[in-house]
């Protein structure tokens, strides 16, 4: 967990929560996005394209749709626009998923 800034006068952090990433428990903090929690864990690629190429956070602001993952069962969810919640289930996404899944 060495990738978060040290706490200081200007940096506060929400209460600790636990999410699972591909079934593994990962500690995060309320107020962080899933993208931030994954980056802090050193997970750069959140998914692969249909051609198998890795994709992760690119714009960080909801525009590029590169940072997708399956969050609580919903595929193609933007990790940079989704706040972590205690008990949240995050799965890195592999290629395409069926419409409406």
């Amino acid at each position: 967990m060495g990738r978060r800034l040290p706490l200081g006068p200007a940096i506060e952090r929400g209460p600790a929560v636990t999410i699972t990433v591909d079934g593994r428990a990962v500690r995060a903090h309320a107020g962080e996005t899933v993208a931030a929690a994954l980056l802090a864990e050193g997970v750069l690629a959140t998914r692969t394209t249909v051609g198998g190429a890795p994709r992760g956070v690119f714009c960080g602001m909801g525009v590029c749709f590169d940072c997708l993952a399956v969050i609580d069962g919903v595929p193609n969810t933007r990790t940079c626009m989704t706040y972590v919640r205690d008990g949240m289930d995050v799965r890195l996404q592999d290629g395409l998923t069926p419409a409406g899944s």
Partner: protein, 384 residues
């Protein structure tokens, strides 16, 4: 004060969309010294904002609205589009880039028996012009496309139709043109176009250029350029929009149209569903640029969902818009301009992405003073 003399070329191409870039590619390959000027970046206007459908049939809405007389006059376009689709396949090979050209066929879907007679007449006319389209009954249609709604009653298959990727095509073609020796000048708007002896001088935002011949491939902006030489051409620029969903597993293999309303629907190689069909966008009151029309977007999506219900599970990512190019009779304008030796114009309305490989060949030939084999009389700039 003496002005610097203009830089000299054999041909100046105005407009860096697919039409202009393919013209420049063919001219450079033929050994001509060619410069292309584009006011913005290459391929950012209609050529970078279209839906990537490869169209090979008479469009159903004008067939019904304008009538069969119109369609007979338009029909010479069919052979051009057929050759252009073959040209797209050849381009992927020539450039060594996968332009995502896939031609599984286009399906025009009817859900009311009253729509079938017009489809039958349209197919007959297409067949007269060398297009191998067929009328399909309900069972044949559903066997080919089980993803369609049960309500369908029949339709048309146009086997040469499909899609290619505009996102990949424009930069790949521009790169090939530059590689062949064409001088591509971005951010170089044409401000003036004048006769100079038996040639032309073009004044741009970045200096003056001279050539014996000029090709105007400026899409919707063609009239603005030709008027500089006193030539008025009825080309317009209607704003239009297209929708794209999140990428999903393969669902729709064909280019799908609907006989009861405006629709084109297909799935890109990346998995996203592209939903359009010539829906108008608004013009933004402040910027004057096209802006999304929300009501049209909703109606377009509702039609798409009624034809292919499963797409309702895919979430919309965005709707974008661009300025299309239009002519009053929907036929292209291709050819030298009467009375102005050396001036060539080219635009293919509404279906110009599809047509661009042939447009490039024709405009390059005309600019080299060669007479193309194709009969260009129906497309003459002098017909209006």
């Amino acid at each position: 004060m003496t002005r610097r003399p203009p830089e000299r070329f054999d041909v100046i191409v105005i407009g860096g969309g697919l039409t202009g870039c393919l013209t420049a590619l063919r001219l450079a390959q033929a050994g001509a010294a060619v410069v292309l000027v584009e006011q913005y970046d290459i391929g950012t206007q209609a050529s970078g904002r279209n839906a990537g459908s490869l169209h090979g049939q008479i469009q159903h809405e004008p067939f019904v609205v304008e009538g069969e007389g119109w369609a007979r006059e338009w029909a010479p376009c069919l052979g051009l589009l057929k050759d252009a689709i073959a040209g797209w396949h050849a381009l992927s090979d020539e450039l060594g880039v996968d332009l995502e050209v896939r031609t599984k066929g286009g399906l025009l879907v009817a859900d009311d028996p009253a729509q079938m007679p017009a489809i039958e007449r349209k197919v007959a006319l297409e067949r007269e012009h060398g297009i191998d389209s067929q009328v399909l009954g309900r069972d044949e249609l559903l066997a080919l496309a089980p993803y369609l709604d049960e309500r369908v009653v029949g339709g048309e298959l146009c086997p040469i139709e499909g899609k290619a990727s505009p996102i990949v095509a424009a930069p790949a073609i521009a790169g090939a043109a530059a590689g062949a020796g064409a001088d591509l000048r971005r951010h170089t708007p044409v401000r003036a176009l004048e006769r100079d002896g038996n040639g032309f001088v073009v004044t741009t935002g970045r200096g003056r250029l001279a050539a014996r011949r000029v090709v105007v491939a400026a899409g919707a902006d063609i009239p603005r350029i030709t008027r500089m030489l006193g030539v008025d051409l009825p080309v317009e620029g209607p704003p239009m929009q297209v929708n794209v969903t999140e990428p999903v597993e393969p669902l729709v293999g064909h280019l799908v149209y609907y006989a009861g309303g405006r629709l084109t629907l297909k799935q890109a190689a990346a998995g996203s569903l592209l939903i359009g069909g010539g829906w108008p966008a608004r013009t933004h009151p402040v910027t004057g640029r096209p802006a999304v029309d929300l009501e049209g977007m909703r109606r377009n999506l509702a039609i798409a969902r009624s034809v292919v219900p499963a797409i309702g599970g895919a979430r919309l990512l965005r709707t974008w818009c661009g300025v299309n190019n239009a002519t009053p009779d929907q036929r292209p304008i291709i050819g030298p301009v009467d009375g102005i030796d050396g001036l060539v114009v080219g635009t293919f309305p509404f279906l110009g992405f599809t047509a661009s490989p042939v447009m490039g060949d024709l405009l390059a030939a005309l600019a080299l003073g060669r007479a193309p084999e194709r009969d260009l009389a129906p497309f003459s700039p002098g017909r209006f």
